[in-house]
């Protein structure tokens, strides 16, 4: 029963949502009970999903608290970091829930300029995340230096494409080949870099996207038909 009911819900919701686009909506002239039902389902299933998504936050928060509290209690590996996580989590949660510093009331905005949460966002969260992400530039430089080598024909092709895109995406690239006449415009580095991204790159991406989409369709069918059990905690 514990598995059957969720599986039934999954199948019914899946089938209804798949069929929804095939029925004309009542406001567009669809008549009869089926268009009304499918329009209702289309409108409300999304809202129900979004309500569930909010509860997922509560579950996620509770799980985070439990995991780190256990680690602190047992003095597990790197437990001071867990303690820091707990303190930060609790502080931000309390400041946000009670809208400290901001306009009072349930309808007050947590992102109000005077709120404590905005202060944390602007002066702690933003600099920390920006700094971490900015470090990527250094790793990318080092990785490019090591990876782009003329080791084979394919690697040389990759190097040439990377070279054109890297330089073509800067104003230097534009200036460097701006003298080329209009007949040879396609050889200008900026145009060439867009061509590489639009033509060979698009061809590659399209095939990847179509492959992924077919995989998603197959997986969704397995879920809807009840063949795939792993999602409900069972065996495949």
């Amino acid at each position: 029963m514990r598995r059957l009911i969720p599986r039934l819900i999954l199948t019914v919701v899946g089938v209804v949502l798949v069929l929804t686009p095939f029925f004309v909506r009542p406001e567009a002239g669809g008549r009869g009970p089926l268009p009304v039902f499918f329009a209702y389902a289309d409108e409300n299933f999304s809202v129900w999903f979004n309500v569930l998504a909010v509860f997922a936050f509560i579950l996620g928060g509770a799980n985070l608290l439990r995991t780190h509290a256990l680690r602190v209690r047992e003095r597990g590996r790197d437990w001071p970091y867990s303690l820091l996580t707990l303190v930060a989590f609790t502080a931000v949660l309390v400041l946000g829930l009670f809208k400290v510093g901001g306009p009072p009331g349930l309808q007050g905005s947590v992102s109000h300029g005077d709120s404590a949460l905005t202060w944390i966002f602007d002066w702690i969260y933003m600099p920390l995340k920006s700094t971490l992400f900015a470090l990527l530039a250094f790793f990318v430089a080092s990785a490019a230096y090591r990876a782009f080598r003329l080791r084979s024909w394919e690697a040389s092709l990759l190097l040439a494409a990377a070279f054109v895109v890297l330089i073509g995406r800067t104003p230097f690239g534009v200036t460097l080949t701006a003298w080329l006449p209009n007949v040879l415009r396609f050889l200008r580095l900026d145009e060439l870099s867009i061509w590489i991204m639009k033509v060979p790159n698009t061809a590659g991406w399209r095939s990847i996207l179509i492959g992924i989409s077919l995989g998603v369709v197959a997986m969704s069918l397995r879920l809807i038909l009840g063949i795939e059990h792993a999602v409900l905690g069972g065996r495949r």
Binding site: G108, A141, A144, Y145
Partner: protein
């Protein structure tokens, strides 16, 4: 003599990464200090989006979805700034939403950084509406496609949607003249294409971080009318804005400022790639001579 050259080859091919970090940091700091500004012009990816905003009748409602976090804000925020500037200059009405939990604060940075400073006559609720973040990823888009008030009872200040002049006549996504999603990942621009742009035939433009741009090009120009890729895309939009509106000519704009350091970083990376390959060739030559 040849032996010495081959040593150089090995050195160049196996350079300590700390040298790369040091030279890159020095290059970036110097460029930031000197304030290097390079000329920019709009590309074929950015121009259609600019033209769309430019040619909409004044008062058209535009939905802006700020789906990014502070980590990618240096690339995406200048795009949002540029589009907001342009839209308000043309007298359009704006509506801000977000699919990211950090969205409310990101929206506040745009409203305070651009609207409050540069457009003091523009009023929240009358000229723009801030609806903010909602949990649910692509299902939020799906719900907005049916009815805005199914997801948002009011704006962030608690005013009911029906009382907001900025949203007069706007009940669902299809009522917007344009949707622009600034996206750093999932959920983001791809979800806006799949759940709004394509099924509703909605004019959709987008901005994404530089690394994410290649995955959106298959959607251009049919499902995506314009794309700003990374800070380069933002700088191109700013360039279009300067070309079309002389009042922006002297104004400092963040993406154009950011392009100097980025261009220098690209050149340093290219120089290191060339050095690495030169070292590899020299080493290979030495091995061939030895055999």
């Amino acid at each position: 003599m040849r032996r010495r050259g081959a040593d150089w080859g090995a050195r160049l091919a196996g350079l300590d990464r700390r040298w790369i970090y040091l030279i890159l940091a020095a290059g970036l700091i110097l460029t930031l200090l000197t304030g290097l500004r390079l000329p920019e012009r709009p590309s074929i990816l950015v121009e259609p989006l600019y033209e769309r905003v430019e040619n909409l009748p004044p008062g058209s409602p535009i939905l802006l979805s700020l789906d990014y976090t502070p980590s990618t804000a240096p690339e995406l925020e200048p795009m949002a700034f540029a589009v907001v500037r342009h839209a308000l200059l043309k007298g359009h009405r704006l509506c801000f939403v977000s699919l990211y939990p950090e969205g409310d604060n990101q929206i506040a940075r745009v409203t305070e950084g651009v609207i409050a400073r540069e457009f003091p006559a523009v009023r929240a609720g009358r000229d723009f509406a801030v609806l903010g973040y909602k949990a649910g990823n692509e299902m939020v888009i799906n719900a907005l496609a049916q009815r805005l008030d199914s997801m948002y009872a009011g704006d962030l200040e608690g005013r009911p949607l029906a009382e907001l002049p900025a949203l007069a006549g706007v009940h669902r996504l299809a009522d917007f003249a344009l949707v622009v999603a600034f996206s750093a990942g999932t959920p983001g621009l791809k979800e806006w294409i799949l759940f709004a742009g394509d099924p509703l035939g909605l004019p959709l433009g987008g901005g994404c971080n530089g690394a994410g741009a290649p995955q959106f090009l298959p959607y251009f120009p049919h499902q995506l009318l314009g794309l700003m890729g990374g800070i380069k895309g933002a700088a191109e939009y700013e360039a279009a804005l300067r070309l079309g509106h002389p009042e922006f000519h002297q104004r400092t704009m963040r993406a154009t400022e950011g392009m100097g350091p980025q261009a220098v970083a690209h050149c340093i990376i290219i120089a290191f790639v060339l050095l690495g390959n030169l070292g590899l060739l020299l080493s290979r030559r030495r091995r061939e001579d030895a055999t």
